[in-house]
Symmetry: C2
Subunit: 216 residues, 2 copies
DNA sequence: TTAGGGGTCAATCGCAAGGATGATTTGCTA
DNA sequence: TAGCAAATCATCCTTGCGATTGACCCCTAA
């Protein structure tokens, strides 16, 4: 039985490349592609896939993590492998929490990718060794009384963080999110407190360091 | 005569994808690949290429723009096509100044890429329409008395930019550089004006986007 | 010598940002 | 049903930021 794969990536060239490689393999077949999170969810609803290869960095309101969460919620049998170029920790946990079974870096060796797909199809996880070592370190750093050093930001707080990392002012953020500036300030304040940051500039730096925002 | 192409991208999958596509075409041949700016310069010195496909986002001390500059300097006959996912203006001008003949976005249609390569081989430039429109806008914004929109920053201004990109306040910067806060403010203001940025947060974002600071 | 650029600093002004606090509504869950 | 977290908005207050202007020193190219 061939493994049916849904390929999600906003870059056509990347999709072509991955598809070209996967087609040379037996037992794996890319049966559909999607260029956005929204499209991925749609495709997942139309047909069954064994494995979804999901790029984390995608434009639009629905990013890879949200799409992963949604797909896993609606189709628990589909396994999602997250592919990203972010080496940072902060992206790993959200992805795993969203239901991704494996977390790969984009410069993964093609053979490892194939391996990850085969394992995902039978419910096995694969972690890039570099990622794995970071997870270990992260886990080591978690103390008892400090269970939530990076308490999850709420949706809105995360929205605000992303926009700050784009260089937006409170007024612009308010306009973008269609809420009052007072509300934006509240979210900014709460976000800064949760992340232990001093001001919006540090938040922007943090976001870039952690890979919260993409370079495109 | 087939066009000899050097493929520069730190992601193996991307190289494979582009190579796979280009090999389906007549008259274009990927004869070498490089995974970093340094390697690209080395390869360029070992053999002749008609066109270099250069990814801007690469790790290491030598980024795509620097590599482009170097290659153009040493081998004026090699044309460099810059490929990036940056939609921002700021990257376009440095790339063009560095000697890139064309500037493409990564989600370019494969056929357009092929076209760009063929044209580059005969010295013709191709600009993505989205990029072109931005250039127009930028040029429209340039005034007579403002001939150098991207004047090089002075040493001090650059120091200040780096520290802002580290999340430092004016007072902290003053302390670090052992100068008065007034002076810091002067530098900040001049730097923002030269880079056409609105505030320090945008400067921090700019710095991260441009790779002024690195996350390793 | 003079003009210009860079670096330094200060005074002033207006505004955005951020902290603190309280209130309301909504939706989920124990 | 009661409780709770999230989201929304407002008010008050303080401070950091950025613009502007003017000044002085030093160095270099014309």
């Amino acid at each position: 039985m061939t493994i049916k794969v849904l390929l999600v990536d906003d870059h056509k060239i990347v999709r072509q490349g991955v598809r070209a490689f996967l087609q040379t393999l037996n037992g794996i077949s890319v049966v559909a592609e999607a260029a956005s999170g929204t499209e991925a969810i749609q495709k997942a609803g139309e047909a069954h896939f064994d494995v979804v290869l999901m790029d984390l960095e995608m434009p639009g309101e629905l990013d890879g993590i949200a799409a992963t969460r949604q797909i896993r919620k609606e189709h628990p049998k589909m396994q999602v492998i997250v592919v990203t170029s972010h080496h940072q920790d902060e992206y790993i946990f959200p992805a795993v929490r969203a239901g991704a079974i494996s977390y790969l870096l984009k410069d993964v060796e093609p053979e490892e990718l194939a391996d990850a797909i085969r394992k995902a199809a039978v419910g096995e996880a694969v972690l890039d060794s570099r990622v794995a070592s970071r997870i270990i370190k992260e886990l080591q750093g978690i103390r008892q009384d400090d269970v939530n050093p990076f308490t999850e930001l709420s949706e809105r707080e995360f929205d605000v963080l992303r926009l700050i990392a784009a260089g937006k002012s409170n007024a612009e953020i308010a306009e973008t999110l269609v809420i009052g500036e007072s509300t934006v300030k509240t979210h900014v304040g709460n976000m800064l407190k949760k992340l232990h940051l001093g001001d919006r500039t540090q938040a922007a730096v943090y976001a870039w360091q952690q890979g919260v925002v993409r370079r495109d």
